[in-house]
Amino acid sequence: MPSNTSGIAAQAASEVGAGRGHYHALVWRRQLILAAMAIALLACLCVDLALGPSNYALADVVKAFYAPEEVSIQIRVVLWEIRMPIALMAIVVGAALSVAGAQMQTILNNPLASPFTLGISAGASFGAALALAFGVALFPFVGALDYLVPINAFIVAMLTAGLIHLVSMRRGVSVQTIVLLGIALVFCFNALLALVQFFASQQAMAAVVFWTMGSLTKATWPKFWITLAILLAVMPIFVKRAWALTAMRLGDAKAESFGVNISRIRLETLLLVSLLAAIPVSFVGTIGFVGLVGPHIARMLIGEDQRFFMPAAALCGALLLSASSIVSKMLIPGTIFPIGVVTSLVGIPFFVSLILSNQKRPW
């Protein structure tokens, strides 16, 4: 280090560009990874659409996109009316849960955080179970069971998020307190869920158990559009705060010294993440693994600059769930396994191999 004024300028001039080259290479590599992930996702979508009780050629699937008049009406109807909402739902649900998990881990500075750590998923399961077992409608103006279950699930999930939000706003409440409160809520809702199952009929209990396993077969176009709309509404807010959210990972003191209003950003992100997690869970049930592991895979591949990490987390979650959807159809032809179960079974070996082979620590 120079000890005089001219020394600083001289040394600075000689070393300018050394770090910049590394930075440009890093940015370029990340853009390539994101592009590769997007292409892989598109391929997964095509395979997911091609597979089903009757398998179609990939060429027909691709043709159905750009020249629908060249494929038969039967293929068109099956692809667009039956398989497309499910395949797209896998993508948006995976993306939403993974982004929610990524931001939970960021703001709580905790590698175990996910939408499920704070009891949001457990709350949704309890709300859904109330509707499935006893027909209880928490929002009285809904008649059809198709929407009664998700609306119940959403209401309890958001009430849970609201409770966490209220506690978080109290002065002196630490991140650790929030995580512990979330864990307490998970246990509380699991006990309540067990109670519902205890009093429910055998048929209703089976329905509750199936719902908690998570299934994309509940997907419809309206549910897909709602989930997509929430994702598209929330993502730009996170993108706008990319620098501040990245700074949060350097610790509260450092982020605060950069001018980040940490308590405000933590509270607002908590609320947005709750919304992002509650909607998909309400529609497709509990799919726990994606929200935890999607962000970790993205982090290992791309680092924690939120400008790249956030889209990477979304793409990882989408890829995981889309691939799981494919596997769920292939395990036993003619049977679609619950996606929540398949996601864990597909994702865990991949995740473990990534942790063991990667030089970068997952946290």
Partner: protein, 258 residues
């Protein structure tokens, strides 16, 4: 004009009064001011109050056409498990509150700052792999790239070896004069205070005990009163003033340092 003055600054944590009634004369561009005092005296809280990171009574009076954003606070050493390279972490500090795009000008400032601090070779290292001293140098870089007018450095040399301590403090002094900044620096080593700072503020028990030039402040009487030590201030053969501690003032312990 770059200047800062404190007027009746106070701070509370819950019901506990941390600081009260801290007022200072005006400090001007180019000055390096040491903030000294015993542990838990409220030095970090005073810095956070000055940076607007902590609410409380009193006013921080800034020079004309200076905004609150002109004050940057560098906290004490903090470790992180983030998967970010050092270069990214410095860019991150530069870009807070601005657009997502990183311009060539941003990169030029990051490059020159890292080069001036001699940490260019750390660019590709992960922030979680740094030693305490390296983290402090990165912390200094993160503060400087924000081009502050008033810089508040909270014990920036606590984890550095002696050579690095002197280098960083020399750079701090140089930056204050070269860029017309006012730099407040919390230090425990009073010999560094004597050598590298112009003025000193002594905080103890949540109040300002003394404020003035280093020569006025670092005296045997102040050391006895604030630190409970018996000490002398003597000049070495090169004319530099040093604190020589003879012992601790205590009813029970009278430790002689031969």
């Amino acid at each position: 004009m770059v200047s800062i003055q404190l007027e009746e600054i106070g701070a509370k944590y819950g019901r506990t009064q941390i600081l009260s009634g801290i007022s200072t004369p005006q400090f001007n561009a180019g000055e390096v001011i040491a903030l000294i005092g015993p542990n838990a005296a409220g030095k970090s809280t005073l810095f956070r109050r000055m940076a607007g990171l902590f609410a409380g009574p009193g006013t921080v009076i800034l020079g004309a056409d200076m905004s609150a954003a002109a004050i940057c606070y560098m906290p004490q050493d903090t470790s992180s498990s983030a998967l970010l390279s050092v270069y990214e972490a410095v860019v991150l500090a530069r870009k807070q509150g601005s657009s997502l795009r990183v311009s060539p000008e941003d990169l030029a400032i990051v490059d020159s700052t890292m080069a001036a601090l001699g940490i260019t070779e750390l660019s590709e290292r992960n922030v979680s792999d740094l030693s305490g001293g390296q983290r402090q140098l990165v912390g200094v870089a993160q503060t400087l790239v924000r081009e502050p007018k008033v810089l508040l450095m909270d014990e920036p040399t606590s984890a550095l070896d002696l050579h690095r301590q002197i280098e960083v403090l020399a750079l701090v002094r140089e930056l204050a004069q070269q860029r017309g900044m006012i730099i407040f620096i919390a230090l425990h080593d009073l010999n560094h205070v004597l050598r590298f700072t112009d003025k000193a503020m002594v905080v103890a028990g949540g109040g300002l005990v003394a404020c003035g030039t280093v020569e006025e402040i670092i005296t045997p009487a102040m050391l006895r009163r604030v630190y409970q030590v018996e000490a002398r201030i003597e000049s070495c053969s090169r004319g530099l003033r040093h604190v020589i501690v003879d012992g601790v003032v205590s009813e029970k312990v009278k430790m002689a340092v031969a």
